[in-house]
């Protein structure tokens, strides 16, 4: 499974969305209901999935699932 697929799975689980057909380029806020905690929940789930710590500033800049996947790749590469 690619990083993008794993991130998609994480986002779908946190936002309680069907994984199939989820746009990886769309803004996270357009995918479903979000609130101020959603980003922190996704970050925590990504931490667990990839055994990393995704910093908040990187998370805040990410607009889409694809952005998140790039963040994860950067953090993983810098480990």
């Amino acid at each position: 499974m690619t990083v993008l697929e794993r991130v998609t799975k994480v986002v779908a689980a946190v936002m309680r969305l069907p994984e199939v057909g989820l746009s990886t380029e769309a803004r996270l806020t357009s995918l479903g209901e979000t609130d101020s905690l959603t980003l922190a929940e996704i970050a925590t789930a990504l931490d667990a999935e990839f055994a990393i710590h995704v910093p908040s500033d990187e998370m805040a800049r990410a607009q889409s699932i694809a952005d998140l996947a790039r963040v994860v790749e950067r953090v993983t590469a810098g480990r």
């Binding site: 609130d35 101020s36 929940e41 970050a43 925590t44 910093p55 908040s56 998370m59 805040a60």
Partner: protein, 321 residues
Amino acid sequence: MTPRRIAPEHAPAAPAPGNVVSAAHGPGADEGMIASWRYRRGLPLLARGPVGGRIYARLVARAGGAHAVERRRAAVARLVRWYGVDARRAAAIHRACLLSEAQEEADSLRFMHDPGAFERWLPRDVPALPAGPVVLAGLHLGSPVLGFLALRRRGVRDVHALVRALDDGNPMQDEKRRWGEEKLAWVRSVGRGGIFGTEPAAIAAARDHLCAGNAIFAALDVPGDVVGRSAVVEMHGERLLFASGVLQLARLTRSTVVPMVALGSPRGLRLRFGAPIAPGGDPAAATFAALGDFVDRFPDEWWMWPYLRAASGDRESAAGD
């Protein structure tokens, strides 16, 4: 759970996605002319000294008790139900709560002008917090904002507060907003920062802060109908809706939850801590049980009596609907 809208004049000053401490002291008990006098004239003119501050607080409590009829009714009815006191005693407790809220305003304004007095008023030290990330679960009771500053200035850990922005999404009377902005600027200055907002990026930063082993302070008694996430909590047989975002943040970061309140008096500020609630599982029940104990011990210091919301499907219990 679908958040319900409430009329702006009944909205607490600082509810937010989770729970926050108010820069403008939570809900006001005044409206229109009284609020205008309170923040434009009464507070700045009277509260620069300790005696004037006490006079200010008494005047505000008297005016609030007399004019905010719906809030008084809601508070009195709840106090009668919870404690079995008569209506007269309940009204006296409610007035004491209004005084408590106004006294923190007066104390804050006085300390803005007298930093030395503020240093002497704070406790000399703060007990050590448990190791690892800690969420300090407070209430709009006594002196929450000054209690946070005590943690910032005396504690050994880096404690940040979650504070909702005083923007258009946080409705309140204009004079009260100006006072809130002035106070928030002072809190930032005296606390040397230490404030997180409640927008998504700030909550993510708060997560980082906790993951790094630091602490967050927030008031948890924000009514659950003005926020995205809420928990139903039973207190004295009443099913109430409280914001639960901060406790979710505690779960995410496996933080220990430490209930606390701060109580001011002319002699100084006292901090009281409840037993730490270890991470693991949902901390809501244990946290609200501990906070409920603080309310039972200091009912005349809790500002939220009129503002609590019954859980959906239960009898409506907040003032003003």
